[in-house]
C-alpha cells in the first residue's frame, strides 16, 4: 500500500493507518492537507466498515468546523468486491448503514469538503455505491476493475447466452464490466494511465470538483449514456 500512497501523495507526505480492510489518515495533496479514507484487500463492505468510513467523514467535518479552517478535501481510496453477503449483515440493516455513509458524504459536500474517489482495486456494485460513487469526482487507476456482475454470472441470471453477451458488450458500455465503460457513461471522470504522475493527476482533479452531479451530462457527451440526461430533464421540466 505504501507504494501506492507514495505515488499518490509523494514519499513521506502521508500518514495513513491500515486497520484490517479499512484505511484512514491524512496526506498532502498539492499544498493542502487532505483526509484519506478508504478500503483495501478487495474489502467486502459490512456494517462495521461503513461505520468506520462514516465516522472518519464526520470526524473530519467536526474537526474542521471546530478549528474554523477551510474544509479539507476528502480522498476516498476505493477497493471493494461489493457489500458483504451475510445474513447477519442483512439483519443489522446493511442498506441503512450504507445510507448513513451516503448522508455523511452529502453533509461533507454541503460543508464545503471536496470529495474525490480514486479506485485502486475493485469497485463493485453495493460497495461502490456506498461511498466511492458519492464523490464529486471519480478517478480510476489503470488496474481498476469496475462492475456490477461479471458476464458469466449475468448470462446465468438473464439466461442470455454468454457468447452473445460478449459480442453485445463490444457495442455498448451499459452492462459489461470495465472502468472504460464507466468512463464512457460519465461515472468515472478520469482514467489515469500507468505512466501518469498520479500525484499531479490528483492535485489537478481536486481543482475540478463540482458540487452539482454532472455525470449524466458527461455520459451524454461521451456517448455512453444517451438517455439518462434528456429523460431526467424531460421529467424535471415537462
Amino acid at each position: 500500500m505504501n507504494i501506492l500512497f507514495d505515488r499518490l501523495f509523494g514519499t513521506g507526505q502521508h500518514h495513513i493507518a491500515i486497520d484490517g480492510d479499512f484505511l484512514g489518515g491524512t496526506a498532502t495533496v498539492g499544498d493542502r492537507e487532505a483526509v484519506i479514507i478508504g478500503t483495501c484487500n478487495k474489502a467486502a463492505i459490512n456494517c462495521s466498515t461503513s461505520l468506520k468510513v462514516a465516522g472518519a467523514i464526520l470526524a473530519a467535518v467536526r474537526e474542521d468546523e471546530a478549528t474554523f479552517r477551510p474544509p479539507r478535501p476528502i480522498v476516498f481510496l476505493v477497493d471493494t468486491q461489493g457489500q458483504e453477503l451475510s445474513r447477519h449483515e442483512e439483519l443489522l440493516g446493511l442498506n441503512g448503514y450504507f445510507a448513513h455513509v451516503a448522508e455523511c458524504c452529502e453533509l461533507a459536500r454541503c460543508q464545503g469538503h471536496s470529495l474525490i474517489t480514486v479506485i485502486h482495486g475493485e469497485a463493485v456494485s453495493g460497495g461502490f455505491l456506498a461511498f466511492g460513487l458519492m464523490a464529486d469526482r471519480v478517478c480510476a487507476l489503470p488496474d481498476a476493475q469496475v462492475r456490477v456482475m461479471d458476464l458469466r454470472a449475468m448470462a446465468k441470471v438473464t439466461k442470455i447466452p454468454y457468447d452473445k453477451l460478449l459480442v453485445l458488450a463490444e457495442e455498448s458500455p451499459v452492462f459489461a464490466p470495465g472502468a472504460e465503460n464507466y468512463w464512457r457513461m460519465g461515472a468515472i471522470h478520469e482514467l489515469w494511465r500507468k505512466n501518469d504522475d498520479w500525484r499531479r493527476c490528483l492535485i489537478a482533479a481536486l481543482t475540478q470538483t463540482e458540487q452539482e452531479d454532472g455525470r449524466a451530462r458527461l455520459g451524454l457527451e461521451r456517448g455512453g449514456r444517451e438517455l439518462a440526461a434528456p429523460i431526467a430533464a424531460l421529467v424535471a421540466t415537462a
Partner: protein, 299 residues
C-alpha cells in the same frame, strides 16, 4: 376502485397510484404513449415496457400536493435501468422547482437491472444524491414499501435515505436478497426458501421493530394512503430539517450500538425480544395495530 379492498402487495404500480392519491388528481409525466422504452432491453431481445417499469407524475393526497413515482415489481423485478432511473432522478429535480409537500417513492425493486447493470448502478447513485438534495431543500421523500420485490440493492439504500419509510408486513427492506446470499454463501448461511426466516431478517415487522422503517401499516392500499396523508399533514405544518452534523453523529452512535448489541445475531427473534415481545412465535401473525401498540406507537 375501493382502496380498502385493494391489496397493496398484489396491486400493479398503476393501481397503487390510483388508490393512493385523490380521485382524478394524478397527472402522469412521460406517459406510456411517449414510448420511452429501454433500448438496452431491446438490444438483448428482452420485452420492453412503455414506462420502463416506473410511473412518475404529480397528484394530491388528502389535498396535499405530491410528486409520486411507482415501480412495477412485476416488470423485470422493478429493477432500475437507464430510463427508469432517469425518470426517478428527474422527479427529484422537479421537486426542487415545484416544491410539493413531499415526494412519494412507491418502491418495488430488487435493485439494479442486470441487462443494463452499469447504467442502473450509476442511475441509483445519481438518485441517491438527488434524494439527499431534495431533502436538503426541505422536501421530504417517503419510501412506501409493500410490493413483492420489496426494496433491495440500491433501492434498499435509497429507501433508507428517505425521511419516512412506510412499510407493510409483507414489505421487505435490505441490501442483498436471500437468494443471492444463499447462492454465494450456501444454504447454511441463508436458506432463502425458509420464508419465515427471510421475513425475520428483512420483513416489515422486523424493520419496524428495529427502527429501520418509521411506520408499519396494514396491507391494503387504504392503510398506506391514510398513513401517507397523516405524514403529509405533519410535514405541511413543520418542514423537514436536515440532520446536520449533530443528527448524523447521533445516528452514528445508534448504529454503532446496534452493531455491538447484536454482534452475533443471525435471527430477528432477538430484536423482537428486545422490543418487548414475549411470544416470539405469535409475532408473525400479530395484527398490525397490536404490533404497533407493543412498540408504544400512538395510533
Amino acid at each position: 376502485m375501493n382502496s380498502k379492498t385493494v391489496n397493496y402487495f398484489e396491486a400493479s404500480a398503476r393501481t397503487r397510484i390510483t388508490c393512493l392519491v385523490d380521485t382524478d388528481s394524478f397527472a402522469e409525466i412521460c406517459p406510456p404513449h411517449f414510448r420511452h422504452t429501454s433500448p438496452h432491453l431491446a438490444r438483448l431481445n428482452a420485452p420492453v415496457a412503455f414506462d420502463d417499469g416506473v410511473i412518475v407524475g404529480r397528484a394530491t393526497v388528502a389535498g396535499h400536493s405530491v410528486l409520486i413515482a411507482s415501480q412495477e415489481g412485476k416488470f423485470n423485478g422493478g429493477a432500475v435501468g437507464e430510463v427508469h432511473g432517469a425518470k426517478l432522478r428527474g422527479l427529484m429535480e422537479r421537486a426542487l422547482d415545484e416544491r410539493p409537500v413531499a415526494v412519494l417513492l412507491l418502491v418495488d425493486s430488487g435493485g439494479v437491472r442486470l441487462h443494463e447493470a452499469n447504467a442502473g448502478l450509476i442511475a441509483i447513485s445519481e438518485l441517491m444524491r438527488a434524494v439527499l438534495r431534495t431533502q436538503a431543500a426541505g422536501i421530504p421523500v417517503f419510501a412506501l414499501i409493500g410490493g413483492s420485490c420489496g426494496a433491495f440493492g440500491g433501492m434498499g439504500i435509497v429507501s433508507r435515505l428517505c425521511a419516512e419509510v412506510v412499510i407493510s408486513e409483507q414489505g421487505r427492506l435490505g441490501l442483498s436478497g436471500p437468494e443471492v446470499i444463499e447462492t454465494v454463501k450456501g444454504v447454511e448461511e441463508f436458506d432463502s426458501r425458509d420464508r419465515a426466516l427471510v421475513w425475520r431478517i428483512t420483513g416489515g415487522k422486523l424493520r419496524r421493530a428495529q427502527g429501520e422503517a418509521t411506520h408499519l401499516v396494514d396491507e391494503d392500499v387504504h392503510s398506506f394512503r391514510s398513513k401517507t396523508a397523516q405524514l403529509l399533514g405533519a410535514y405541511a405544518e413543520e418542514k423537514l430539517k436536515p440532520a446536520g452534523l449533530a443528527g448524523l453523529t447521533e445516528i452514528q452512535r445508534q448504529l454503532a450500538e446496534r452493531t455491538e448489541s447484536y454482534a452475533e445475531a443471525r435471527d430477528g427473534r432477538i430484536i423482537f425480544q428486545v422490543s418487548g415481545f414475549t411470544d416470539l412465535e405469535a409475532v408473525a401473525l400479530m395484527p398490525i395495530d397490536a404490533f404497533n401498540r407493543q412498540l408504544g406507537e400512538a395510533l
